[in-house]
Point group: C3
Chain length 330, copies 3
């Protein structure tokens, strides 16, 4: 679908399951975190919470029986691809995985619009992962069927931002009033950019902890300022850890540093260990978009505050909700 | 199955859905366009039309529930592979995708007959794409389960030819009496060869438009002559466009030309634009096997005569029909 | 699941289908042939036999409807992967194929425990193929969901050993009292090692026929000795073929030999032809784990003693049984 219009039922965010072609998000695209109002988020998370309950109680159900999803991945992402596949299958639908687009028509020079217009002859909804910024919007412009952006380029990965936020909601019961600390590579990390933007819809306090060369980009800082979000920057976790409700950890990649010694000198300051846990609130959560490579010590995994694997599971429920919604079944 | 015998119910081409092991094509292989009589085509297109109606009305149905398809692709083809996958899933069946045969047993030196005899232990029907001429016939010789040729080498891609013809039938309501113009690379294009052969079963008029070096091969010309098909060759679309009912466009590949200037000099004569549309009948269709890379201008896409994306959709119905038929359910 | 405890219902090995969370193997891992008692095997083969009957009678059934399998393959194996996929689909379940782990998070350096803990958020059971010894045990240690070893490194491929043994049971009606001859590469062949170990639970007679440089490893010989299994070694099939009930053929790879002439001199002695059949019992079976590359002549395939393609089919039933069992449905 080429145009997005916000749902008009924001006062009544939750509607029981059923075939509701007048429902919000029916036949809409999911392209950007910027498309959502706070009422939209309430609605999405209401449906995602129902999905969680139903998976817990009965495992799967046939809400999308007979529907087919094209999982069109122009770059590999096992995690995201598996999550959407599971979401569709847990709802009784089927999936056509298209992982090797580098081998296929696409490599013969076919344009994204043509690929999408061909695929939509076979399926009911398209999930697209693409290395280029704007690819999802382009696909959605030509497709008659709904398109869900599963990450395109450095900017947008809206379902990741939604699952991050849903994790906070489910784990801590609210978002307003929380102190959210983002740690690690805040310059290149698309997940922290999207989450920060989504959090502007709430009454939160943001703290950014990063090495000097990986600070949150000034344009995002200024965007948050304009929305009136209290924020502060730090080069160490120490001053903010004790008041943090949500610690969002990302990976500091060696390759970002010009020389190895600069990397070595900061590395340990951005690793979460049992010692870090000693300084936190008793009720707080540690998140990570995964994969991690050493930035959270494995000994932390068994602590109830370690929410990163549960975060993956919340992702399943959010994607189930989105699929059901755009297909008019939620 | 190793032998093909034509259906003997040609007077009564359409039979309602149900389990009919005596039905034509039950447990038969689909290997070549040459295997079909005109009565076969009537039967196949009758079933395919039913599939179209049922998909339009209810989306999917469980005709092949519990049946499993092995999608065995020795060379990549996203379009064909996705189409068969969707066809099976829209009928309630399951698919085992085997796309990476270059990594697998096959690359350990296993023969095609052994691969097929192993796979058929797991599935009910095998769709085979292979770079070598005759691969499907070889597979069918050893398999007890039905084999469908999804393209083997330069010669045969029978389901493509069937979907091309079905497109004409559904779009124009008939084949007899039509003037069909094939444009572009007629020398190497397997789709135009197969379609031309299939059209000999009908009362049509064929026009071939190509650069000198990409003319329809003499053996096909002579084969059509023997069947009494009126045909003519041209180096430009101009003289035939106004009387054309079906314009079948294929890609003229730069690599076919010895020097770039020869290519540049002919290229524009084989590109379809809005100007081309001005010269056509009001009721005619433009087809293309896709992918296209510039040989039909995108501005043409919105015209009702542009049938190439609908053509993809007809492919789904033809493949649904074939799967249901060889599994005895249509 | 990290711990394996043997089933405690060995006196009553077969239980009709149904949801039985107290059933043996519910939520257990399948990691090694060493984990099974003879009672376990009776139980597994009882369920596998039921699966065979049900597939023969009705094709598929919905025992695992709504369940999802992650087919996590760190190295390609079309045969094993397709077999598990079919097993899950024949039981009405769904599959998430993860074949390209070299492209994915894993290649970004993610640990196997993290990959498994992420995947299990999406699925109900994990089948793992991995090039390293012990990978399955490591995965099972961290996973809450059951893990099935589909081959890890040179040692273990327990479902292959189970299907080999099940083939013998179904084809010959018993295992006790049989003379089993293993032929070919007995040094590196993981299938013959596992099968030999599993056979120590029965009253069999083992004969090993191999070139000098590919003899059964001394540690296995001694392991079998300790279990009191009668065994003998030979460099030619001639002396043992006439008394063999099960001839298990494996491939002698050229690469194992230092010089080509050594290979050439022994090769023909390890090829099964119609001449070999002339010397065997009338009721015996020839097995092979496949793929074969010349070590059994194709002319042998049509003989009823050639059991190797049926062996693939028995593999389907064993894997259906294991999936149903670990998911508490058998």
């Amino acid at each position: 679908m080429s145009t997005y219009s916000p749902p008009n039922q924001s006062d009544n965010p939750y509607i029981p399951f059923g075939d509701q072609r007048s429902a919000p998000f029916y036949n809409k695209d999911i392209l950007s975190v910027l498309q959502f109002t706070r009422a939209d988020l309430d609605y999405i998370f209401g449906v995602a919470h129902e999905m969680r309950e139903m998976v817990t109680r009965v495992g799967t159900f046939d809400l999308l029986k007979g529907k087919i999803l094209a999982n069109l991945f122009y770059e590999p992402s096992t995690r995201t691809s598996s999550s959407f596949t599971s979401a569709m299958e847990r709802l009784g639908g089927s999936v056509i995985p298209i992982n090797e687009v580098h081998y296929s028509s696409v490599s013969k020079g076919e344009s994204l619009p043509d690929t999408v217009r061909t695929l939509e002859c076979y399926v009911d909804v398209i999930v697209l992962r693409h290395p280029e910024v704007g690819a999802s919007a382009l696909a959605a412009k030509y497709a008659r069927k709904p398109v869900i952006n599963a990450g395109d380029g450095v900017e947008e990965h809206p379902t990741q931002a939604l699952l991050d936020l849903f994790t906070i909601v489910e784990e801590l019961g609210k978002v307003d009033g929380l102190s959210v600390t983002m740690l690690g590579d805040l310059k290149y990390g698309r997940t922290v950019h999207s989450l920060a933007r989504l959090l502007t819809l709430f009454d939160v306090n943001l703290k950014f902890v990063s090495p000097e060369i990986l600070r949150m980009p000034p344009e995002i800082i200024s965007e948050l300022d304009q929305k009136g979000i209290p924020q502060s920057e730090h080069f160490s976790l120490e001053p903010v850890i004790s008041e943090t409700d949500v610690l969002y950890v990302t990976r500091v990649q060696k390759e970002r540093f010009e020389d190895l010694s600069a990397y070595e000198s900061v590395r340990d300051a951005f690793v979460i260990t049992l010692q870090t846990l000693n300084k936190t609130k008793e009720r707080m959560i540690i998140m990570h978009p995964l994969p991690r490579v050493g930035e959270i010590s494995m000994e932390v995994d068994d602590d109830p505050r370690a929410a990163y694997f549960r975060q993956m599971e919340y992702g399943l429920y959010v994607r189930m909700a989105l699929l059901a919604m755009v297909l008019g079944k939620a």
